[in-house]
Structure formats: structure tokens, C-alpha cells
Symmetry: D3
Amino acid sequence: SSRDPYYEPYERYGVEDPRITPIDGAYYITYTAYGPYGVRTGIGRTKDFKQFERISFATDVDSKDGVLFPKKIAGSYVMIIRPGGMAGRRGDIWISYSPDMIHWGKSRLLLTSEDIRWSTEKLGAATPPLLTEYGWLFFYHGVRTTPSGRIYRVGAALLELEHPHVVIGRTPHFILAPEENYERIGDVPNVVFPCGAVVEKNGTIRMYYGVADTAIALATTHIDDIIKLCI
Amino acid sequence: SSRDPYYEPYERYGVEDPRITPIDGAYYITYTAYGPYGVRTGIGRTKDFKQFERISFATDVDSKDGVLFPKKIAGSYVMIIRPGGMAGRRGDIWISYSPDMIHWGKSRLLLTSEDIRWSTEKLGAATPPLLTEYGWLFFYHGVRTTPSGRIYRVGAALLELEHPHVVIGRTPHFILAPEENYERIGDVPNVVFPCGAVVEKNGTIRMYYGVADTAIALATTHIDDIIKLCI
Amino acid sequence: SSRDPYYEPYERYGVEDPRITPIDGAYYITYTAYGPYGVRTGIGRTKDFKQFERISFATDVDSKDGVLFPKKIAGSYVMIIRPGGMAGRRGDIWISYSPDMIHWGKSRLLLTSEDIRWSTEKLGAATPPLLTEYGWLFFYHGVRTTPSGRIYRVGAALLELEHPHVVIGRTPHFILAPEENYERIGDVPNVVFPCGAVVEKNGTIRMYYGVADTAIALATTHIDDIIKLCI
Amino acid sequence: SSRDPYYEPYERYGVEDPRITPIDGAYYITYTAYGPYGVRTGIGRTKDFKQFERISFATDVDSKDGVLFPKKIAGSYVMIIRPGGMAGRRGDIWISYSPDMIHWGKSRLLLTSEDIRWSTEKLGAATPPLLTEYGWLFFYHGVRTTPSGRIYRVGAALLELEHPHVVIGRTPHFILAPEENYERIGDVPNVVFPCGAVVEKNGTIRMYYGVADTAIALATTHIDDIIKLCI
Amino acid sequence: SSRDPYYEPYERYGVEDPRITPIDGAYYITYTAYGPYGVRTGIGRTKDFKQFERISFATDVDSKDGVLFPKKIAGSYVMIIRPGGMAGRRGDIWISYSPDMIHWGKSRLLLTSEDIRWSTEKLGAATPPLLTEYGWLFFYHGVRTTPSGRIYRVGAALLELEHPHVVIGRTPHFILAPEENYERIGDVPNVVFPCGAVVEKNGTIRMYYGVADTAIALATTHIDDIIKLCI
Amino acid sequence: SSRDPYYEPYERYGVEDPRITPIDGAYYITYTAYGPYGVRTGIGRTKDFKQFERISFATDVDSKDGVLFPKKIAGSYVMIIRPGGMAGRRGDIWISYSPDMIHWGKSRLLLTSEDIRWSTEKLGAATPPLLTEYGWLFFYHGVRTTPSGRIYRVGAALLELEHPHVVIGRTPHFILAPEENYERIGDVPNVVFPCGAVVEKNGTIRMYYGVADTAIALATTHIDDIIKLCI
């Protein structure tokens, strides 16, 4: 948490779930700030992972799971956000725009649980969108409430390059779900929660994801396989 | 609700609680848009109350009770908002800034139920801030949940002219509460809900407020009396 | 409640909300039986309102607001029921069929809150359907939950004579709502709850309805006016 | 609230619902202390209603509606308490004993909502028990939750003189319920909440009771009438 | 789900938990139909598990876990149902009768959580009743809610052959509970949920049961051992 | 449960979580009594673990996790209790005093979740306080609610010898948490729940604790290590 009097109240209980997006030679980190007045999404920047500076809070409270697109689109920075979804309410994925990374607007709905059978409750961004020739490849998590707690799983969607609020397609089912004991057993059972994905030259995606709120795991897939599922 | 495909989904169930702020010769109307994905605050503009145009949504969902300040402060449009507070959660009053009325940022907490004994649950703006020589005079409602439902009452705060996120003082108690039968009996009993206040030349404030979600009432006070209570 | 060992457990806490339908010279009374295992709909019969006999329970538990059609349709007794709707869940209006008033089946959805904007929570039959040349005229109540409790209001629908599961039309808005002090003030404020309607020769409908769970009131309208609203 | 560091945390938000019992020439006041850790029952004493001293907290938290018997029974001070009943849980009436008004024990159940059809949720003492030749006459309130909030009503029970944990009888129904507009309309509608009863020489009981959390009302009855209902 | 316009709305989200009962040379399958208006119990029939036909919905909504008896009793088809039990409410096991498998009635309570200490919340049929010389042997599940979710376990009851609503006896404790890792770990931890039991000639019962909503397991016991526990 | 008519109603569903404290040559057992009117803390005594006698109930209902100090302090028996904390409400740890183990009073707050970041919901005593030269060493459990249920963990505090309501220090973090499979998997996953601790001559603490409501485990530590963490 920050000592800056503007930032401190909203980060008093800590910061969590950082996602990193490189833009124009710097690394931007979106994170969930957690304090007594709720959760909101902050943006920080670093060039060397030694010196960090805060840019802004990109949302008001009761909003988390923000991820930045790795480049400006039509002159705007673009972010995926998840307003709402607190206290058991439904939470949908939205997209928002900014000229300066400080002021945000023109937000609109991107994905809703209404359309995704395997997620009965809320959705949220997993990893920052990946640029592909077919569109932005975007991983997200979905939550289903069972009689014994929630289960977090992961799906993917493909968004139009120039109009990222348009969904080209989605994987018909989730593509990553708790199966291994280290995903099913831990402080919060049955959670897979990706925050970062790296594409290697050969098209392999290396996805890093939290498991059961207890450890971090690595899964791999090939980008072509996921895109095929989306189209 | 709107036929514009950008606005329509968020206004599908209607718009409500309009508040009018004159800025630079036009009338800006902030309103709560209500649709299947939640509630959010829209801004419209008119010059003659015959022709209307929409400017933007100033917030994401789960945010309502937005009111604009009647002039720019330090180069920014300024708005009071109430993010959160849905589904029985606590809702606080925040302040937000914009260069263009479209993109908003730098939001921060302004008033919280923690500090206001007579409101146990959530707060929200009542009327757009009034410019006085002592500061911005701002009316807000507070909600207390009783064993038989909620009671809505009204308090006032004075905000610094150049730094409106600084609260100079608040009325120690609520200053308007349901007392008359027409405020206590109706579709939603025990609600007084102001959305507009006019100051006359002699300093009389005429406050228009919804009662019991059933009718509109008028109360008057003198601006000096309220300011004295705030200081 | 009954001393018959079959009926007693389900009526132990009492019976309520009787609705009377004359069929073939006898009066059939549908009622909500209330006991430790839930509520269900019973059917009784009388010819003189002195001697009563029980016919059956027409539903399992968690079902109430049953009303009988005044004649057989296509060889079956027909009933409107409201399964579900307990514990704050949504409750829809259904229709069910029986060869003997004892065994019921082929039930299907008739009206759902999804389609009725003024009822956000649950619906239920008001009065037994009235035979008109245009179809069965059927009054029902709808419930909206406000911050200060629920409000019960009444609408009407017209059902096809030979296929009563087909809705010809509905009144676009509710047609009876709490307005008078005796409807708004009482043990359960803001409730109008009709259980009986009588059509006079001149077409006047005399509707008897519970108010605020405290008294019984009478409203009148003309059958043609309601039918026009439905078509 | 108190400045005594032992009492202050538990009375920080105030004290409410005082009941007065004269014992041995002094007036003992039981009250509900309300603070950030919950509610509990305090005992104070005065001889002249000018000087007050605190005696003790007679219960831990989540306990309210304590009333003292006006004399020791079998060498013990005796109190009626209502442990539990918070957050919508059922609350029953208990009886507790003390050698010194400071340490309390041997508590046991006295009255439970299980046995009282008109109170579905929780019970609590109304007024301190009155000594009669037939036993201790004890008024209590019961709460029923309706679709539009709670309704508070009052019943009476007769307790054995020497063994006050034994209930001789209860009034079969409530004997005071909201009926007048000033009982039905107010900050908390449909509440009658007695805290004090005075018996006059001719047997008239003057009962003082809060109405709708807004005012105080007075009702009268004759002690013989209530006792007859209990036996 | 079905394309038949009568069945489709109630099966829109799928069908689950099939139980198979052979009657008179055909296989009857009871299943839980799941759609936007709730869950209800459907009956289908097949002779070869290649061609299926739907018979009826045997219950209204908010009812699941239906199983048929393998022969008519006193001229009626007999079914065990579980009306209610949705949204965390208590759910009991009932029995219902039909002349034609289409219309059902005369339903009554069979087993309630009130009597079964190890099930605090709801019960439901496990497998179709098995005919024995001592009575109908009937397995059922019970649910207990713990601080970390629900645990599903299995008990057995013996019902009178000619009057199956009469319970001869029950196993004093549950007889199958999650113990193995594959029963405790999975999408819904701590669930054993039998839907089928086969009795072999030597009296071995082979019980097939879902585990943790993730796999299907097989347990065996001897019919005499279970009957002894019931008597 | 007891056959004594005073004790029976409160122990009807059983007794659980016994903690043993030796005082003056006898063993005192505090336990949670569980019956239809709630849970409360009982005290029993034995000298040989063959003959037991009940002493008292030390609390009213909705109170559990009581542990006795092993000797009188300033002339009083002293007990740690946890009033409240039922139905998902916050529960704090309190301390209470008695001259005779029957009547209790002067209770006050000892530890609250407000101060303990790793416990968001409720606290409760783990083991009876251990006498050390630095103060009373006291283990307690804390509960955090996650999206998949609760997790129980253990911390320690050091209390002043002569004024045990004064906390000298606490371990900055929990010191025992579910990690092993037998702590994470069972009827109630993710629970470690100590009820007894023995200090050996060399300073080793042997702590016995329930795991996942399914088994009992043993952990060891050294008393100096824990005290260092508290100071």
C-alpha cells in the first residue's frame, strides 16, 4: 500500500492480483487496491521492476480485474474492467477507454454471464489481451456457485482488432478448470486464476495462474488451438 | 430510454432521478440509467427542455446519484457520484473529475456513513451543489435500515470552493426527515428524496423532493440557516 | 384445520385465502393449507356453506394461490396454481389439469414476472377466472419489493376459452394498487389482495379484496373496461 | 454513554430502552447498552433521578430487554433477559439469578416463540414483573415478520411467586397491538413497545409504550382482566 | 432437452440425475428437468435405450429427486418426490400416486429432516425402492450444512409393502458418507449421490453413485445387512 | 447430554469441544452444550475421569468456546468466553469472572477481529491459558470466510498475570494453519481447531487439535518460540 495520501485509503488493506502489460517500452501494472471503502483498480508503471510509480485509479470502487491492452486503439488506451460483482451479485466484463490513462469513459458491456452457461455468477479478466492476426485473444475467468462453494474456471474470447468491444467468438466451454490436487486443495479450493500469459515464438502460450489461493502454477497451450475454438 | 445502440442496453428499463445543473448557458441533466446490467449515471444536455442530447455515461454500473457542480473547478468538470451501495452494501459519496464530461478520473471519497450516525447504510447526493461565499453547499440523503424497512433523510455539507473534495463541515443531524403523512405513507414509506434546490434572491432555498416514491413535495429554508449548521 | 389424519399435518397452522368457484351446482373452495412442512393448496366443497367436505390437496408443498375454473374444459377440471415463490424466490403462475379433482398433471407456465414490469418478484392468482365471450378474464396479483417492503398490486389477463394456457392479452399496467389509507396502513402495509369477484348482470364487477392484511374492501369496475385493456 | 473506561466501549453508541424497578428503596434501571461490539444489558441505580451510579453489566453481548424483579426471591436478585435474537435469529426470553446484581448465573429458558403462535421470530421483556396474589404478572413483546417488515405486539404471562421460572399461564393472544395511526405510522411502523407499567390502587394498569419508534403512548387496563386471561 | 414445445421450456438448461425403474417390461426414467422457471421431475420411457419417449412431468417446479416404485400398488403408480428444498429451505421426502403416470395426487410426507439428526437441511430420494420380503428398501440422501459447505450422505428406510407411506424403520445413522479422496475432492466436494442400485441374486447390492459431482463410483453391500439396520 | 431437567434442554443435541483445566486438584471441563434453544458453555468436574458432576452453565445462549484459567486470580475464577458470533455475525473473545464458578460477571472484551487481519469473521479460545513467567500464554482460533467456505487458523496472545484482561502482545500472524492433506480434506475442510495443550518440562508444547472435523492431530512447538513472537 501507498503512503501517498491520495492512494493510501484505497490500498490500506493491500494490493493484489497484478497484471502486467508492456506499452511503448514501459511495463504497466494493473492491480486491485483493497481498503475499507471497497476495491478498485489501480495502474502503476515501471521500466525496470525496481522503481515504480502510480499513474491513477482507473475505476471507482466495487470494480476489480482490470487489464490493459498492449497498445492504443484508435488513439485511446483501452482497458477491460469488471464493475460490480460484489456481495454475490452478478458481475460482467466491460471495456473502457482513456486518452491519458487517468480519465476513463465510454465504457460498455463486453461479456456477460447470461451468455456463458458454465459461469453462473460472475466473470472477470484473466490475462491482458494478446495480439493475434485474428483479433485480440482474451482469457477470462468465470465463477459457478455450487452447494460447497465456488469453482473458478477459464475461457477465452477473440475481440476485433480495431473495435475490441466486438466479440468475434468465444470458446464454447471453459478451457482450464481445477483438476489437479494442487488446484482443488488449498486455502480456497477449486480455484484456477490466471493473471499472466506469455506467447513464445513458436506460438506456445505459457499461462501463469494462481491455484486454490495457495500457490502459482503454469499451464501451456498453443495459440492456434485456442483461436480455433473461438472462431 | 434511448434508441442509440450504445445507450439502449443501459437504459432499457428506464431513466430516473434527474438532476439539473446549468453550466455555461446550457442545462446538464444527470440521471440514473436502469437496465439489465445494472444502474449507471448518464449525462444529457438541453438548452430549451425540448431538444435533448446525450453526452456520456459518467460511471460504470452499480453507481447512481450523480450530480454536477455548476462550473468547472481548476479546469475540470466535477461530479459527485455514489459508486457501490447495491444489494444492501454500504455506499459512500465520492467526487470525480473530467476534462470533457466524457472521461472521468481522480475520484476519491467525500463522505462516508462511518462518520454519519443517522445513516447506517448508504449515502447519496441529493441536489447539485450550490455556490455560496463560504463554500459549496451540498445536500445529501442518508439511509437507515429499521426493522420495518428503510428511512431516507437529508443532511447538508459545506465543501471548499477550490478543493471541493475537502469537507468544511456538516450539519450535526439530518435537517429533513419524513414527518408528514404524505412523506410517511405511499408506495415506499418514509422516504424524502430531494433532486433539486433553487436559491432565491433573498436567500430562501426551495427544495423539491420525492415523497414515499408517490408524489413530489416542496420544502423551504434559508441558506444562512443551513450554512450556520455546517460551520 | 382438519382432524382427518391425512389432512391434519398440512393444515396444522390454519387455512387461509379461500376462493370460491361454483361448478355444476356445488361450491368448490380452494384454500392455502399452512403447516410445519410448508403451504399447499387444498380443495373443499359445499352446497350450503354449512356442510363442507374436503376433496383433495391439489398440489405438493411450496405452492399456493390456487383457483379453479368454473367448468371443465376439454373434459378436464382446470386450476391456476403458483408453485414456488417461497423464501424470496421468483414465483410464476401455472395452469394444471385433472380428470377427477384429485390427481393433477400436464401443468405448464401461464404468466411470469419476466414479462410483467410492475411485478419484480412473484405473481399469484387473485380471483377465479370469469367466463366472457372474449375468453377467460383472470385477475392476478403481482409483488414488487421496495426498500421498505413489498407492494401488492393487481392486473388482469384474458385466456383462450378452449385453450386456457394461451394468454390472449394482459392489461399493460396494474389496474388496482394501494392508494387509500386503509390499503396503505395496517398489519402488512401496501397490500391489495383480491380473492373473489362477482359479475352483475349489467357487467359491473364487484371485487372483494383484503387490504393491508387488516380488513376487506370492495372495488367495482365494468367488465368491458377490463377486457378492452387486455386486447 | 459513560466515561468510565470499563463501561465506555459498550455504551459508545448510546443507551436505550430503560426499565425502572424499585427495590429496597432505590430505583434500579436496566438498559440496553449499544456499542461497536454489540448490545448488552446494564444496570444502574438512583434514589432521586438526579444522581445515578452504574452497578454492572448483567449480560454479555447480543443480549437485551433485561428487566429486574422488584424484590429478591429465595435470596437472589432475579432478572428476565433475552440472549440471542440478533441478525434475524430467533430470540427467547430467559430468567437469570444473582447474589449481588454483579455476577449472574443459573439462567434458564422462560418463554419461547415455539409456543407463541403470534410471534414468529423473537420475544423480549416489556415491563418489570408486577407482584400480584396470583403470581408475577409479566408483559412481553413478540415480533412477527411480514412481507412488509416486522410488527411488534404485546402479551402477558403469570409466573409462580416463589419459582418465577415456572409459567402459570399466558394470555392466549396478544393483548396490545398496533391499531391507531400513531402506532402504525412513524419511523418504524407497526411497533408498540412498552417499557413501564404502573398499577394504581384500584387495580388499573397504566402502561407506557413506545409507538413506531416516534412517540410514547399510554394504554390502560385492569390487572384482574389480564390475570383472568392468563389463568 | 426436448424440442417438443410443451417440454422445451422446462428442459432448456438440461436434464440430470436420471433414475431407472423397470415396470411391466419397459424402463421408466425419472429425471430432473432444469430450465429458466425452475426444476421439475420428468418421466420418460424406453424399451431398448435407443428409442425414448416422454410420458409427463410428474411435478410442478421446485421439485426434484423423483423415483418410481417398480410396480403398481393398490392400483396406482407410486412415486417418491422431494417438493421444496430450494434456496436453502428445508426439503422433505414425500410420496405421490397416479392412475396413469400423468396426473398425480394424494401426496403426503414420508421422511423429514426433523427426524434425522445427520441431515440438517434437506433430504431426497437416492435410488428407486427395492422390493424385499420385509418391505420396500429405500435409499435416500441427506444434507448437512457445515461452515465449509454441504456434505451429502446416504441412509436407508424400509417402507410397508402395501402402504408405502408407512415407514417401518430407518438406519439409525447414515450408511454411506464421503471418505475416499475421490468422494471428498472434486467440483463439489464431499458429495456421495446414488441414483441406481442393483440387487444380485446372492443379495449383494451394487450401488452406483456420483462423487463430488466429478465421477461415478460403485459401492457394494448386502441387502440383509441394510434391512437389519432398518428394523 | 444430561437427564437432569435443568441441564437436559440445553444439551439435548449433545455436548462438544471439551477443554480441560486442572484447578486445585480437580479437573474442570468446559464444554459447548448444544440444544434447540442455542449453544451455551457448561462446566463439569471430575477427579478421575470416571465420575463427573456438572457445576453450572457459565453463559447464556449464543456463546461457546469457553476456557478456564488454571487458578483463581485476585480471588476470582476467570474464564475466556466467546459470546455472539452466530449466524455469520462477528464474534469476539471476552473474559469473565466468578466467585463460585456459578455466577459470572464483570465480563469485558479481550480480543476482536478488528485487530486481527487474518481473521475476518470470528475468534474463539483454543486452549486454556498456560502460566508462564511472562504472562498467560493463550492460543485462539480465527476464522476467515473465503469464496469456498471458511478457514480456521490459530494465533497466540500473552495476557498479564494479575490483570488477564490486558493483552501484552499477540503473534503478528497465525502460527498454525491447514497445510497437510488431513487438515484440508474431511467433513469440514480447512479446519485446525485446538482444544488442549500440554507443556513438557523442557518447554515443548504438545497441542492436540481437531482437523477438518474428521480426526485429531498433534503439533509441537517450544513455549519460548511462541512467547518471543508475542512480545
